[in-house]
Subunit: 272 residues, 2 copies
């Protein structure tokens, strides 16, 4: 019965810029009478990492903040409220709605941005918690992502340190001796999802402990940056409408260049 | 400390067509000395559901089987081995690589197709396990999915019965009284991911128990079918290349149609 346990850490409390988050978590664990053990993974919502790192910034307009955080718009759709839902690529290479810019649970006139370097944040947290606990732990920083094709959101890892990022079964064989397909499991994302089940959204429980997995490593490791898919293997680099529009424009251009009559000068005269 | 435990059920053994899967699982639990409790969620890999339901079919060619299972090709890319990676929409509305057609862990010359009605499979399993255990349990049937934009696969739910599919926080407010964003959690998918962490891929542990969540319902519920995103809200209905190509063709057509309009005496002549 190889099993895992997941529970949330109560009493981390409100986090403000400059807080030593590892220390806050260690003290919350202490107060709860909990001791970290070798192999534990601490799963921490990016929200409190961002707050500790001073990523709560004044912003009149969330949309402007999203624009500033995005390096590329992947897809955009008008919303009923007159705005637009924008799926963008962040500086980290994550593709997500609104660049992870959060306007809930923050003071009016402010937005919360993602950590600048979530893998680095995870390394700092892991170093602090390893120091105070003496335990060989790993850290995952998470955020909430929507999905194409499926309703609802799930938590994914945006930063990781001292945790095996994937379980790579490639080259392995099944019970019939045939090569395994579908064989690279995104461990950190499955751990992030498991932790979200106990963290709760409105409940303000931003830290969870996952115990019972064999995923903690001595090295800090490549982090979640290693999960980002490069453009060359990205079959959904643009939204369908955006790619169609780009293709349409290219088709018109091609027709023009092929020596067809210049497009646009053929607009029929509707006035006498 | 609201927490959950997840463990795999050993000894389910090889599954063959016509097996009563609920009975196989109940007996494996018995042998392991485990008792299901109210609120437990049984997470079952689609592979053994398909096998019990006779979805192991002879197929000379996996590619033909994929074509037969797909209702629509979403995106396609040539593979190094000369074939093509095809992301397709299945009859259920799932968008996934290879239509979930599995050629690993099956006899040569055969492929394993997804269950015809995974929510129905989950209902049947739940009824059987509720009957034998007397416990108020829920069932999730899972499969492994790749993701756009991120490397690696995670397990998602493809069928569910007697489990709350989502936790809907919409209309809720944060600690500052502001409306929550990102507020519909895909519970069944997060549970599927958590279960995968203990099930293992090559290890042949296709059943897990998740205990400690408040998600089991009296009604069978809407199932995973309710998570499928409709075309109208799908911003990634086609792969970028496919949408670009469709747009390109439409652009050329438009240029042609414009060019075929009767040319008036004032239309500029571009050719001598």
């Amino acid at each position: 019965m190889p099993g895992l346990s997941v529970w949330s850490v109560e009493g981390v409390g409100e986090v403000v810029p400059g807080d030593d988050l590892a220390d806050l978590i260690a003290r919350a664990l202490d107060r709860a009478g909990e001791t970290l053990a070798d192999g534990d993974v601490l799963v921490v919502a990016s929200k409190i990492v961002s707050k500790a790192e001073g990523r709560l910034v004044p912003a009149e307009d969330r949309e402007d903040a999203i624009t500033a955080e995005a390096v590329r718009v992947v897809a955009s759709r008008p919303r009923r409220d007159g705005g637009a839902t924008r799926i963008v690529e962040t500086r980290h290479g994550f593709v997500m709605a609104a660049a992870g810019v959060d306007a809930s649970n923050v003071p009016a006139g402010h937005v919360l941005l993602l950590p600048v370097d979530p893998d680095g944040s995870a390394r700092t947290l892991a170093a602090g918690l390893r120091g105070s606990s003496g335990a060989r732990i790993g850290v995952i920083v998470t955020d909430t992502f929507g999905r194409p094709w499926r309703q609802g959101q799930t938590d994914l890892a945006i930063g990781a340190a001292h945790v095996r990022v994937v379980a790579d079964h490639r080259g392995g064989h099944d019970a019939h001796g045939r090569p395994m397909t579908a064989s690279v499991t995104a461990l950190v994302d499955e751990i992030a999802a498991a932790a979200d089940l106990v963290k709760g959204k409105a409940g303000g429980l931003p830290v969870a402990v996952v115990r019972g997995l064999d995923v903690v490593t001595d090295e800090a490791g490549p982090g979640v940056a290693s999960l980002v898919r490069g453009a060359e293997s990205d079959m959904f680099r643009l939204g369908s409408d955006e790619a169609f529009a780009a293709g349409h424009a290219a088709g018109l251009r091609m027709a023009q260049e092929l020596g067809e009559r210049p497009v646009g000068e053929h607009a029929p005269e509707t006035r006498p």
